[in-house]
Symmetry: C2
Subunit: 568 residues, 2 copies
């Protein structure tokens, strides 16, 4: 057993990374220990591209036995959005057996303290990072993301968000010292002297409910924040995106066991088709924390019904980009075209409503009418996706038939400025690949024509659908932006303007309605992407999400501090 890492060795190995993460969340400068380039892998124990692909292929058609207590059968049946059947079987759990078993190891995990929990978490992340290429395929073939995006967003970026959560969790727990001596003067009498011990204690078992589109990126922050604060974590993946989280659970269990902890501190709750166990799990008294990414309807259900738990939700929103004027018209078009196309718009951060004054906008290329702006954007998207290989590499596959149906229906919502095209994926002919559709709507029409433009743009239309909404003025746009955030929520807001007054008005409405704002992006950063350690994902202050990734509030209530005091 000499190969097993001791807590001391893990501290020596990972403390420098933890310290760098702590510094990064303080300065919010760029930092990441997880390389984004596929070729950066293959050394220091990590799988290279070929080995990662081979590892993924070897998983197909197998049974992933996690050796969990209460396994009462097997379930599976994932079909990749790219058409292949994964054929992986996962344990199905009798939760009346599994949940008590998960509690058994909590005391030792609690007593290990914040630093050991952090470095064990970092060791889990290291093992995941070593298998980034394998995870990339697992994410690709569950989410439908194109390989490069599955690799980056599902790999290093997800690992960054996990590490960020661990850093916040550690920082929060060590704000209170382990011990204190308290000496209160009593005038001429002897002082009152007490010794005090402070222990961070977990809330109980945390439930992480995964999503289909970003199983690791959206799942890791809650999973690692809960684990690093001493809780056991039950992972309930989306039935169509089990594999990346099952691998994560397997690795976590291995690392926990090797470090001398109970592997049942992390477990998987895969469900049978149609079983719908999330509601059952979410209201179990043992579940004290829930992290969820998905529909507003179920997020609201959780917030209303899972009253025994702290509930962190990321739900639907309607993201707006206000286009008032442009100092770099071509850069704006290129930037927006990429934002609309990436992963076929199947991101909670993809812009949906492009608010453009009906009288057009001023740009460095001269005045552009509303129709010209929309046509130029359509052309930019067409240009970006004109080559099928490049298009497949950007778009990925449509994740489910509902998204496809929305794309098909969008053309009926208004004048189509850019029609969605079908693209063939030569490698995966069964993949459903669609380019974005852009529909023109009128933001004023609601007032006099009884048209349903407002019904279209004031609801989330998840997928590669965006609306070019004509507005009367910049002020009208700012008003509509504010109302959209307030009523529907927003994960992101973008704006293009050269007018200081408009810029200030957009900033003010984003501060007032609590939405994250990207201004005049024309380069290689896109409104739908955020960087861990620096950018907040969501604000937690508008209806799209009740938490931000990541901040103190995301971790502070996952544990409590218990004090034992004695006369000294």
């Amino acid at each position: 057993m000499a190969a097993e890492p001791t807590a001391h060795e893990l501290i020596a190995k990972h403390r420098p990374t933890l310290d760098q993460a702590l510094e990064a969340i303080r300065t919010r400068a760029y930092w990441s220990p997880h390389p984004e380039h596929p070729k950066a892998y293959g050394e220091n124990g990590s799988l290279d591209m070929a080995a990662g692909k081979a590892a993924f292929d070897a998983l197909l058609g197998t049974r992933l036995d996690l050796d969990q207590p209460g396994t009462d059968g097997w379930t599976g049946g994932e079909v990749s959005p790219y058409g292949i059947e994964l054929g992986v079987e996962y344990p199905h759990a009798d939760i009346d057996v599994l949940l008590p078993a998960m509690k058994a190891g909590q005391r030792a995990w609690r007593d290990a303290g914040a630093e050991v929990r952090a470095v064990v978490s970092l060791e889990i992340l290291k093992r995941i990072a070593d298998r980034t290429h394998e995870f990339a395929h697992a994410v690709m073939h569950t989410s439908g993301q194109a390989f490069m995006m599955a690799f980056q967003a599902g790999g290093p970026h997800a690992q960054d968000r996990a590490l960020e959560a661990v850093a916040y969790a550690y920082a929060e727990q060590v704000r209170t010292p382990d011990t204190a001596q308290w000496t209160k003067p009593q005038g001429k009498r002897d002082p009152l002297v007490m010794t005090k011990e402070f222990t961070p204690v977990p809330r109980g078992i945390a439930l992480m409910i995964g999503c289909n589109t970003f199983p690791t990126w959206n799942g890791y922050p809650g999973l690692f924040a809960s684990l690093a604060t001493g809780n056991a974590v039950l992972v309930k993946p989306h039935p169509r995106a089990v594999l990346p989280l099952a691998l994560t659970v397997q690795i976590a269990r291995q690392v926990l066991a090797e470090a001398g902890f109970d592997p049942n501190l992390v477990a998987l709750a895969a469900e049978r088709p149609g079983e719908g166990i999330a509601k059952t799990l979410a209201t179990r008294p043992e579940i004290r924390i829930i992290d969820y990414t998905g529909s507003t309807a179920f997020g609201d259900w959780l917030e209303t019904n899972a009253r025994q738990a702290q509930v962190y939700t990321e739900k639907a929103g309607v993201n707006t980009v206000l286009v008032e004027s442009a100092a770099n018209y071509k850069g704006m078009l290129a930037n927006l075209a990429f934002s609309l196309s990436l992963y076929s718009g199947q991101m909670c951060t993809t812009p949906q409503n492009l608010l453009i004054p009906r009288d057009g906008i001023g740009t460095d290329q001269g005045h552009k009418t509303f129709d010209e702006v929309v046509a130029d954007l359509a052309r930019s998207v067409d240009g970006l996706l004109g080559d099928d290989t490049r298009a497949n590499g950007l778009l990925g596959a449509i994740v489910n038939p509902d998204v496809k149906a929305r794309v098909d229906a969008a053309a009926g919502l208004g004048e189509v400025a850019l029609a969605s095209r079908e693209i063939t994926n030569p490698e995966f002919p069964d993949a459903v690949v669609r380019t974005p559709v852009i529909v023109k709507l009128d933001g004023a029409r609601k007032y006099w024509e009884g048209a349903d433009d407002e019904a279209a743009y004031m609801n989330e239309c998840f997928g590669p659908v965006s609306f070019a909404v004509a507005v009367d003025s910049a002020a009208d746009a700012v008003e509509l932006l504010g109302r959209t955030i307030r009523e529907k929520g927003a994960m992101t807001v973008g704006a293009y303007t050269t007018d200081a007054g408009v810029e200030a008005a957009v900033e003010e409405v984003c501060l007032e309605e609590a939405a994250q704002l990207s201004l005049n992006l024309t380069g290689g950063v896109y409104v739908n992407q955020t960087a861990a350690f620096s950018d907040f994902h969501g604000s937690g202050g508008n209806p799209a999400a009740n938490a931000a990734l990541a901040d103190g509030a995301f971790v502070a209530n996952r544990f409590r501090v218990i004090e034992v005091r004695r006369d000294a």
Copy 2:
């Protein structure tokens, strides 16, 4: 207007205090800037004892005009538990006018930043501290606390808790820098460079619902945490304890106005008799934060119904002291006697259930039977309260008829070990003053006799009522302690033991069930008292309260951080 403090002057004046508070919450060593001794007041602008009394007397029978928008009448009618009618009238608010007015100044308050908000909050506290003697009478004649307790708990200790909340709020807001430059390498290409601005933004209007027994001590943490994080605060006092909070609001409005902010950032919502406006206010969409101290029933109602708000509640609990053995028997008896007597047990932290093995306990005075321990404790209480002047000084007055009714009914719950006595208060002959009653119950009787002992000791009996519960063993006591915390909640747990195994078992159950533990207190610190900056009040992890005073979780979700990023 030269006398008005500028932000710069307030920073110079209060930053050292803020820094000391920040250091104290980090080390949790003893610290307080607010003197506990009545004679420490009278210099540096503070009112001395006589001036404070005169100021209070001058308030009686007056109208406290706060110059609030939407004042549509006047209300009042407080009658002191000591019998005098205060006769103070307060503005009654049309909330449809007041709430919008409270929002008007939020933008400037937000833009002032965390440091200015902190020092303005500290200036409010300084003005309150200067009038501690006046507040002492206001607290005494609303809560029924004896003068010295009203002075200390309602004055310096409440001010300490307020300052602690301001310190946590400040620390939380400055964890993210105001600005950051983010430079991401791109191999041989130019790096991606962005500038980022981060702004803490308030959630909206906070509602602080005050309680009858500790209007300032329990009210200030939420009030100041919300204000310091940029929110406007509407103070809804308990109808029988308006004056201390009305004075607080008046001072806050004066300081805000003098510092150049909108005084409507803090306002009072006094209610007419029977109006019950808390439910109406709590579910208004403008109210985004609620702090509440009071009954479990209304706390649960708020958590269930005020879904638009962050809700922080302190509710009822059942506090236990486990008496297994004693190294200092006399010290234990004296300490417990004081804990049971202070403010007639009308503290959320007063012990209720004393769990004592039926076979007795080992002590430094030899073995003591169950009956001896209970009789000795009864004698200690009698001794402590034998002198009427001293008794009045410790007990204060019974706050309302419900408490008196519970004291009267307690004698019917079991064998009375110590009967409650009426005490006459010569200065206030109408005051209802009662000594504690101790009733013997049997923790095992539930199992075979169908007796209602368990119904008595497993429910909060707020007031000077405690139960000496015979248990089979230390293990039985620990089990009952755990079950009590889990099912009923506990603000405090005490234990006396010389046995390392029992001590460890009690510690473990407190860690497991998230309750704050005081071990073997025999000196001048009592289980029902906590010191700001060092001790946590409640844990937020058991049913007695969903938040602790104070920690990161108490402040972190009162604001959100909004990021504006641009290509650099």
